[in-house]
Every structure is written in C-alpha cells, then in structure tokens.
Subunit: 206 residues, 3 copies
C-alpha cells in the first residue's frame, strides 16, 4: 500500500467508525444489549456505503474486507463502555455530522473513480452520506434527523458538489476531498450550533 492508499483507508475506517458509533448511541437510548448495539453500529456504519456500491455495481466493500465489521464492533464497544452521560444526544449529532461530511466526499469519489458522471456522482455522495443515518433512525424508530428543519441534506450536497467541482478543475483528490469535507462539516456544524436553515416552503393558498 502506498502512503496515499493508507491514508484513504484510514479515513474510510474513521468514517465507518463515527457513523457506527452514532448507530450504537441510538441503541443506547433504549438500553439495548451489546449485540443490538453492534447490529445498529453495523447498519449505520456500512449502510450508506453498501447502497453506493450496489448502485454503481461495485462489489460491496465490507464483504471481502472483514476489517470494516471489526471497526463497527469496536465502535459499538466504545459506546458501550464510554457512551453514558448526559451528553449522549449531542454526541450522536456530532458523530453523525462527521460521518455525513466524510461520506459525502467518499461516496462521490468512489463514483467518479468508476466513471460515473458529475451529477450522479454528487447524488451518490449525498446518498452515501445520508442513508446510513436514515436507516438508523427508521429502524430505531427515532425521529429522523432528515426531518428536522435545520440544514442536513444540504451539507452533504455542498460537500459533494465542491469535491466534484474541484476534481473537475483537476485539483488532486486529497485537497479536493479535504475541501469538500470542510465545507460539508462547516455547513452542518453551523446548522447544529446556530440552527442554520434554508428558507422553508411557503405555500401560497390559491
């Protein structure tokens, strides 16, 4: 492995870890057991990437690389041991924000690397970033972060779009990816801290 590939793999595992931890935190709210923790960790940690791989026709990334499942298990165990405390809801939201930002870039990057055009690659980034969390919330019957008024999908969209645009301007993958991650995380952080929203739908009564 080149240092670059190593860095990419490390980032990928980090993204799986934070999303998996957010899944375990959702399980923690209902005082589930360690196996259910691991189930939610895996569902959330690899859900988005699994859909991405199915959609672009790539082999599903964790099937032939069991390390990703080990990462999910480690995340579940970490939350089991350290996940108590009053700030659980906050922690879930911030881990989700990190996962969202990382996956927006990773999803778009994998799609581009397989020859997908710019617009579907951006959509793939958005899907990869949001599907894990949606699965977590739907299966845990938890109010979906997607349905809150604060900016959420928009953060993933901004990050994926910036990354794809910079890549098309022939910027190297690493700086383009960092820029995409920073934009996505910045937008989402603003939404969490300051309640950033886009204008909502204003129906005109005809």
């Amino acid at each position: 492995m080149s240092p670059f590939q190593l860095a990419a793999a490390a980032l990928d595992h980090a993204a799986v870890f934070v999303f998996a931890a957010s899944g375990a935190l959702a399980a923690a709210e209902r005082k589930h057991d360690i196996v259910t923790f691991a189930f939610f960790a895996a569902l959330t940690g690899v859900g988005g990437g699994t859909l991405r791989d199915l959609l672009i026709g790539a082999p599903v990334f964790w099937i032939h690389r069991p390390g990703y499942l080990v990462t999910c298990g480690a995340a579940a165990l970490t939350i089991w041991i350290f996940g108590g405390g009053r700030r659980r809801e906050q922690l879930l939201i911030w881990l989700d924000a990190l996962g969202l930002s990382a996956y927006a870039v990773i999803g778009a990057a994998k799609a581009l690397s397989l020859g997908v055009a710019a617009l579907p690659a951006v959509v793939m980034g958005v899907m990869t970033a949001t599907v894990g969390g949606v699965l977590r919330d739907v299966v845990a019957q938890h109010p979906s972060v997607l349905l809150r008024r604060e900016v959420y999908v928009t953060a993933a969209l901004a990050g994926a779009a910036i990354f794809v645009a910079l890549t098309h301007l022939r910027l190297a993958v690493l700086p383009a990816g960092l820029a995409g991650f920073a934009v996505a995380f910045g937008v989402r952080a603003g939404a969490i801290r300051f309640g950033w929203t886009l204008p909502g739908f204003q129906p005109r009564v005809h």
Copy 2:
C-alpha cells in the same frame, strides 16, 4: 432513437416526474427547504426503478443517464413554485396514482425484456410501482398509503398482470402497455373516488 424508443423514454421520464412530484409534496407538508424537496423527489422518483434494476441485475437506470435526476429536480422545483394551495393532499394522491400505474407497466416490461418469467415479472411491476411511494412514506414518517384500506397494491397488480398477459398473447408492447396502464389507473381512481376496497380479513375467533 426510433420514434418508439423516444415515446418509451418520454413515458419513463413522465413516470419519474409524477412520482418525484409526489415526493416533493410529502416534503412540502413539513415546510422543508428546496434541497430536502429534491431529496424526497429523487428518493420517490427513482426508488422503485432502482430496486427493479438491482433485482434483475441490470445497471441502475439513472446512474449513467443523468437526465432522470434533472427530471426529479424539475419536479421538486415545480412543486416548490406551484405546489401550495389547499388541494395538496389530493394532488399527492393523484400524482401517486399516475406514477403507480405507469411503473406497474414499465417495471414488468423491463423484467420481461430481460427474460424474467411471467410471475416474477408481474411481481416486479408491483414492486417498481409501490416501492417509491413506500420509501417516501417511511422516510417522511407519513401514514403509508399502503396501509389504507382502499385498493392500492391491487391496482398495480391488475395493471402489471394485464400487461404481462396481453404480451404473452403476442400483443405489441405499446397497446399492451396502454391497456395495463388504463386498468391500473382505473382501479386506483375508483379506489380514490369511490373508496373501492376488496373484502378485508375477517378473523374467525376460534
């Protein structure tokens, strides 16, 4: 492109458009922003066809043809601009009925064209027709149209079955498709307007 292929592509985009619009309308109920509108439009618009393609092992239709995503975006924008008014719920139901009827035929037709047998092709039509709406309702945490007592799945089943039967009787695809669409839409329209139901389950207490 032959005129026939052109007509097929136009119908396909029309079906994506109406389902996407129904997705945007579901987002409208919660006064979401334009990006969330587009997210629900894409989820609903391409969800059913995506599952169909995954199941039959075909390349996912919108990945290499970005035009479908543009159609979803246009549907989101249309609802954003014109979707107000008191009749929103009604509009959602009728757009859903159009999408249901079109996809029942399109899903079965694509399955048949790839050599799938009659029964699974009918099931594929039903799935393609219903999955987009189910995804929309589950993710939007909206009461699922599937769970209402009125005829819904039955309309898709009738349309797909008529289409597959007529095709097996060697009718050409276009008239068979129109007949299937008309039957599905007629059945669903009757359910919406007149509350058509099939006999419900009557448990006998033993």
Copy 3:
C-alpha cells in the same frame, strides 16, 4: 436433484413460508385484503434473502425460480383462511422465530459457499435472518421486534456463528446447519417463553 439438494430446497421453501406467514399476520392486524396479505408475505418471505443475494453479488434467488413467490402466496392464503383467532400475535412471534433460525443458517451457508470469509458470513446470516422481519415491521408500522428488550439479534448471531464455526471445523453442512438452527431457535424460544435478555446498557452519568 440429489436428495441433499432436495432437502436444502425444501428447507429453503419452509423458511420462506414461515416468514411469509408472519408477514401476512402483520397484514391481518389491520384487516387488509388478500392482495395486501400477499404483498406483506412476499416482502417478509423473500426480503432477507434478497438483500443477502444483492450483497454477495449472486442472482436474486426468486427472480428465476418463481416457486418462491408461489410459496409466499400459499402462506398468505393459509393465514387468510386459518389465521384468525386470539393467538395471532403469539403465532406471528413463533413463525418469526422459526424463520429467523432457518435464515441465520441459510444466509451464512450461501455466503460461505460463495467464498465469503467467516466474519462477513456470520453477519450475512444475521442480516438474512433479521431483514425480512425488520422490513415487515417498518412497512406495516408495527412495533419492531428488534426494539424489544428480549434477545432477538443474538439468537440469529448465535445460530450463524455456531454454523460457521462447525463448518470451519470441517463438520458437514447438514449437521452443522441443524446445530445452528437448534441453537438459534433455542435461544429465541427462551427469550419468548422466559423473557431472556442480555444485560442492557447501563449509562454511567459522568
């Protein structure tokens, strides 16, 4: 077909049948019509196996073997005719337990047969076993069995892990599969009858 293949196919259909019946029972709670019964039967009956096949890149098992859909239809009809009575909830839980146990083994076995490593094969068994029921509960908006405190995922995990471990110890597939099934069903039955739980998450307030 060899007698062994025949036995495997019979078991596979039996697993689809019991899960499909549990899906039809979920539809029965809302007094749905026979078509919706069949829809839920198919969703639950083939849902888990469909995801398994998509994940490991195998052709989806029911597409080219319409017999599985016939099995789902038969399950729907059986529940329609005989599914009344006060014990419906109980019946659903026990059919689900049978399906869970069978699929934990079948899912892991198919993954192993396609060269998947031990850990992902176990996870595949767990997913195949749980996804049909999760889909049923999410789409029927029924309180998910997954979210109850009793042991559920753990039963699938135990069965799949035993099966994969025994197979790696070079035990033949049939005894290993029976052992896996028995362990999964035993654990789940204990959970249903005696309320077996694993220790739940105990947050320490920091």
